[in-house]
């Protein structure tokens, strides 16, 4: 949109807002309503405390095991993760694709193993959400999450990061095995926290609105927290910016906008590569050229030579360093699980995970349990 038209739109929005007339007694009305709200909250909290006291098996208050009372018939022919692959099921499947049976209703009782041997580590509703499932690796089962305002399961290890709207500027680390939540003050962060591939460190994207400064925070599961500033004049990132990790977890990655490319709000900004930083001291370490954004540490090949990125118009498999495009792929949100195998949510079919080769040819497909369809899923090595 042209600058003049953008200004017209800005004027129009402001004129619309300017039609507001001062509201009388706003504070008094809000106080009345707020008091009723507070009274209801207290009553609800008291009731919840009674329930919590009755359910002594809970490992911790807000993260609880999936209710075992829900006894639905499991898939008798092939329980999840232990089934014999079915080469014929699936009306849309290619004859060459191995299609596993859909896990039965008891899928939460064991780790859901995906094609290639990785597992579903967590599954949450889209957006910051506390509604979902996390894998308790110690007991090899899923816990139902409830009560938090955001839950991010580490791909490995026992820890989940959690957020609570009542604790702004803090992140909780929940150890499912120990049943403990420890809160850490981090200051306000934006975007989703990003776990290192080993599940031991969390990268936070911190934007200081007042100063216009971009920083990243690194929270260690030991509780150590450090924040590092980034010179955004030198390391320009616009559009979709968040700190994530390199494949080996030794560096933090930030997308880099091509400063010479025309930018528009109606399309992805062109990238020139990614800048890597040390998570230990914030020092810029290296620049890696590529024409798009890696979704996370698993986007990189195990040897780091290739990477799957979201290009300006399509997902791409590219050479890290030269940026040479090898080929287009069906999705950019992949886990590169071995030398020549990619694991990803089947594009246009959120019900399935597929194992594919580097050309995007599907080899094996795992339909998800009904409860996981539509959720954002974190996968991790078994």
């Amino acid at each position: 949109m042209s600058r003049s038209r953008e200004d017209e739109l800005r004027f129009a929005v402001r004129e619309l807002a300017g039609q507001a007339r001062t509201a009388p007694d706003l504070a008094a009305r809000a106080i009345d309503q707020g008091r009723r709200l507070r009274a209801r909250r207290r009553a609800t909290a008291a009731a919840a405390a009674l329930v919590a006291a009755a359910v002594l098996a809970l490992p911790f208050v807000l993260l609880r095991p999936d209710a075992p009372a829900r006894v639905a018939a499991p898939d008798q022919t092939a329980p999840a993760g232990t089934s014999t692959p079915d080469r014929t099921a699936g009306a849309t499947a290619s004859p060459d694709v191995v299609v596993r049976p859909t896990p039965g209703a008891d899928w939460t009782k064991r780790a859901l193993v995906l094609p290639g041997g990785w597992v579903v580590a967590g599954a949450m509703l889209p957006g910051p959400s506390g509604d979902g499932y996390v894998l308790d690796r110690g007991r090899d089962r899923y816990l139902r999450t409830d009560g938090y305002d955001g839950v991010w399961r580490a791909p490995q290890g026992a820890v989940s990061a959690v957020a609570d709207d009542d604790r702004p500027g803090e992140i909780g680390l929940v150890d499912a095995a120990a049943g403990k939540t420890r809160w850490h003050r981090t200051g306000q962060w934006i975007m989703s926290p990003q776990w290192s591939p080993d599940g031991l460190r969390l990268a936070l994207t911190i934007f200081d609105k007042d100063e216009g400064a971009l920083r990243f925070g690194v929270l260690d599961t030991t509780g150590d927290f450090r924040v590092f500033g980034v010179d955004t004049d030198t390391y320009l990132c616009t559009d979709h910016c968040f700190f994530t990790w390199s494949r080996d977890g030794r560096e933090v990655v930030l997308q880099q906008t091509d400063p010479n490319s025309r930018r528009s709000e109606s399309e992805r900004h062109a990238r020139r590569g990614v800048q890597l930083f040390s998570p230990d001291d914030g020092r810029p370490t290296r620049f890696v050229a590529m024409p798009g954004d890696p979704a996370g540490p698993w986007s990189w090949s195990p040897d780091g030579r290739l990477v799957v990125v979201q290009g300006r118009t399509e997902p791409l498999l590219v050479e890290a360093g030269t940026g040479r495009v090898v080929r287009a792929l069906p999705t950019a949100d992949v886990a590169w699980i071995s030398v020549d195998r990619l694991l990803y949510r089947r594009p246009g079919g959120s019900r399935d995970y597929v194992l594919a080769d580097l050309t995007g040819r599907e080899l094996e497909r795992q339909p998800l349990p009904r409860e996981l369809v539509g959720r954002e899923i974190t996968v991790g090595p078994r």
């Binding site: 600058r3 038209r5 929005v13 807002a17 507001a20 707020g34 507070r38 702004p168 934006i190």
Partner: protein, 171 residues
């Protein structure tokens, strides 16, 4: 204690209420809707005042936007501003008149879905960047970009005069 809370809260509303009401109006599109939206947000702020007292305005803004794009819409669709007919298309008029264009844009804004209007309000009323908008709405920047794009596409459809190509800009 309660008197102290009430006093602080009332002072806050007296000082910032009009600014917040402008935002609420841009989101709700009517005086009645804006007052309801803001009152709900302020009530939530009051209920949590001891925790948010030093940071009340960002909290209320966040609730305003969140309620607008989620709970508010779920609770009652009838509270959205009804637009009986599409705004008159600017192409039928003299697009050289900025006042006319703005009036058409204002009407067209009311025809946008709540989430799209919320994104435009953040971008154009509050002058927030994509990242800041995403942070406030609790969504990905890609979502903000796509919602902005859809909103602008709809506005262009409703007000063709907006579609003049000129210099591309970005924030």
């Amino acid at each position: 204690m309660a008197e102290e809370t009430d006093g602080e809260f009332t002072a806050f509303v007296n000082e910032r209420g009009d600014v917040l009401l402008r935002i609420a109006y841009a989101l709700a599109g009517s005086q009645h809707g804006a007052e309801d939206l803001l009152q709900n947000a302020l009530a939530k702020a009051y209920a949590r005042w001891p925790r948010i007292r030093g940071d009340a305005e960002p909290y209320v803004r966040r609730i305003l936007y969140h309620d607008q794009v989620s709970g508010w819409r779920r609770r009652s669709r009838r509270l959205e501003v009804p637009v009986a007919a599409l705004p008159e298309r600017a192409g039928d008029r003299d697009s050289g008149h900025d006042a006319d264009l703005r009036m058409l844009l204002r009407d067209a804004l009311l025809a946008l879905p709540p989430r799209q209007r919320a994104v435009l309000t953040l971008r154009y009323l509050e002058d927030l960047s994509v990242e800041q908008t995403a942070a406030l709405l609790g969504c990905r920047t890609g979502t903000v970009a796509s919602q902005t794009s859809k909103a602008l596409a709809k506005l262009r459809h409703l007000v063709p005069a907006l579609d003049d190509a000129d210099q591309e800009v970005s924030r």
